[in-house]
């Protein structure tokens, strides 16, 4: 038994009791869900995680893992930004549309002049925009995301309209930009170096083949960004301010934090992260379409919520979102592995999101009582 102290007012208070980090629960849930799908697959004589085919010489089911990792990475990068916005006490519904608009615009600066000897049939601009160095489309993409995010932030911070409405407006407008950009036509045929961005093997090159597998780049970028923002959220003023504002905006303001400016910064970073995901996505697919990223914002929000980020702000962590992204993608992939119809998948997906929020509400009630 742990020793209890009598605190002020005779309230019992257990000094050894520190609320267990909810990330451990999310991790446990992730493991549990993987085990459940493994079990369900075994009933059919297949496996969720492991390779069952004799003609392939790998331990794991590489194909499935690749799909899961890709989904975690691309949507996960968006979720990193959405997480910060939610911790701040806001919400970002525009991420998916920003992905779409950024995809179209970025791709227009990533095109190659000649496709199989013929002029690029999907060319958006003239020759001046063909075969540009790969840094140009990347920069263009990040600028797009920055602008969209900054508009979100300025609207939320200075017009005082609810973030839900501000980013809903951006969601609709950015999708409009995506469709208008090339009259609904896809933008395709990027330069080889642009295609390398997501399909390349950056760690393999850096480590001379030690950690080499094709198409790893999105995962590498995701992990790098996750680590970066984990450190930023925990160890820097940026993180401290975000949690403080999400926790008690009035108190943050009274403590001298420039709340409005910080909000603009956080929404801008979220926009940039959506743009980064867009660059990787178009590079992966070698094409951009106006409908790219539809519903990604909800997937990203779902990842955050499943990972224990409280929609009321102030609570949650990047680690939680990374694990939440894992759970989300494993569930989607798991449904496919047990051949559940896509319609059912969406229905269950909705239920999972609602369930995660209900859990969060329960947790909050528990805290108030405690």
């Amino acid at each position: 038994m742990s020793q209890t102290n009598h605190g002020l007012g005779g309230l019992k208070y257990d000094p050894t009791k520190k609320s267990r980090a909810s990330e451990w629960n999310v991790l446990a849930a992730l493991v549990l869900i993987i085990l459940v799908f493994e079990g369900l697959n075994r009933l059919n004589g297949t496996s969720f995680l492991f390779n069952m085919r004799d003609n392939v010489d790998t331990l794991f089911n590489q194909q499935r893992l690749d799909i899961i990792i890709l989904q975690v990475s691309i949507t996960g990068i968006i979720a990193l930004g959405v997480t910060q916005v939610i911790i701040l006490g806001g919400i970002d519904l525009s991420a998916g549309s920003v992905v779409g608009a950024t995809a179209m615009i970025t791709m227009s600066f990533a095109q190659t002049a000649l496709v199989n000897g013929a002029p690029n049939p999907k060319a958006v601009f003239g020759d001046w925009a063909m075969d540009l160095p790969v840094i140009v489309p990347i920069a263009v993409g990040l600028v797009c995301g920055t602008i969209a995010g900054m508009i979100n932030g300025l609207l939320v911070a200075y017009t005082k309209i609810p973030p839900f409405i501000a980013t809903l407006g951006m969601m609709v407008s950015a999708r409009g930009v995506a469709r208008w950009w090339s009259n609904g036509q896809p933008v395709s045929f990027p330069t080889e170096s642009y295609g390398e961005l997501a399909n390349g093997d950056v760690l393999g090159k850096l480590t001379f083949g030690l950690f080499s597998w094709d198409g790893q780049n999105p995962a590498v970028v995701f992990v790098a960004l996750a680590v970066l923002f984990h450190l930023i959220m925990i160890y820097t003023l940026y993180g401290k301010r975000s949690y403080a504002i999400g926790s008690n905006e009035a108190a943050a303001r009274m403590s001298g934090i420039n709340v409005d400016r910080h909000k603009v910064l956080v929404y801008t970073i979220a926009g940039m992260l959506a743009a980064a995901a867009s660059v990787l996505l178009t590079s992966k697919n070698l094409t951009a379409q106006a409908g790219m990223g539809v519903m990604y914002e909800l997937d990203a929000i779902a990842m955050a919520v499943i990972g224990g980020i409280s929609l009321s702000g102030g609570r949650g962590s990047i680690v939680g979102t990374v694990l939440g992204a894992g759970i989300f993608s494993v569930i989607i992939s798991g449904f496919t592995s047990i051949q559940l119809d896509a319609y059912y998948q969406e229905m269950v997906k909705g239920a999972i999101i609602v369930g995660a929020v209900v859990l969060d509400q329960w947790r909050q009630k528990g805290r108030v009582r405690g």
Binding site: G7, L8, G10, D14, A244, G246, N248, G370
Partner: protein, 254 residues
């Protein structure tokens, strides 16, 4: 005249057409503890909000530390040396005790704009020191304060004020929501401030507490200062009659 810490002349505040504070003349001397009492809506909190820069006054002058001041916000007032415990606790529930103590004045290992690296170790050590000097007992400062009792949270807020107090402390109803033991704890902190010679403006409804703790009692009624009573020359009934308007229908100097 150099021992005057805070002085207001003709301090007035309208909210739209409502006159919340009218012609408040108030003086606080070095080391002095003054209570501000009055009925609900008498203008006590309005008075505090003008001094601390939370709101901008309609008219009048404020002199602090020998100079006329015009604080644009609570941070500016705080930087000038006015520490305030607000009626609504200005705490972030999801942050731990050190983060709350240093909210808005964090210490850094290195500066890099918004991405400045926090010096969490030093902030934690200073927090423990501050809690020690104010005799506030918090079992685990690393817990988010959401998990703490109302009294502990109030003590964190007051410890923050007391720890950083340089020239003036203002407390707006610090014990309103507290139990008996917790109130005693807060009163001990206030006595500690008196010993350290830190001047205090205490807004309170609790007359017993006021008579116990402070040197002088200023009574507000309907936005005006109606009395300034020295502790030795007054009692509960006297104060109540000023609060209710039985005595002192003429404005007085605080």
């Amino acid at each position: 005249m150099t021992d005057i810490v805070l002085e207001t002349r003709g301090l007035t505040k309208y909210y739209g057409g409502v006159q919340a504070l009218e012609d408040a003349n108030f003086i606080l001397r070095a080391g002095e503890h003054v209570a501000v009492v009055g009925d609900n809506g008498a203008g006590k909190s309005t008075f505090v909000r003008q001094i601390t820069g939370v709101e901008q006054r309609t008219a009048g002058q404020i002199f602090f530390d020998g100079r006329e001041t015009n604080h644009a916000g609570p941070l500016e007032a705080r930087e000038a040396g006015i520490e305030t415990v607000f009626q609504t606790l200005a705490l972030a529930d999801d942050l731990d005790v050190p983060s709350n103590l240093f909210l808005g004045r964090e210490l850094f290992k290195f500066r890099l704009g918004p991405f400045s690296w926090l010096d969490r170790k030093t902030m934690r050590e200073r927090t423990l020191e501050a809690l020690k000097t104010t005799a506030v007992k918090i079992p685990n400062v690393d817990n988010p304060i959401r998990n703490m009792s109302g009294g502990q949270r109030q003590c964190v807020a007051i410890a923050r004020t007391a720890a950083f107090a340089s020239k003036l402390v203002i407390m707006d109803e610090p014990t309103a929501a507290l139990g008996v033991q917790e109130t005693a704890q807060v009163e001990n902190i206030i006595r500690g401030l008196k010993e350290r010679g830190v001047p205090l403006v205490l807004v309170s409804h609790n007359l017993r507490q006021v008579i116990d703790l402070v040197d002088r009692i200023v009574v507000f009624r309907r936005g005006r200062i109606v009395a300034s009573l020295n502790k030795g020359e007054t009692d509960g009934n006297d104060i109540v009659s000023y609060i209710t308007g039985v005595k002192g229908s003429e404005p007085a100097h605080g």
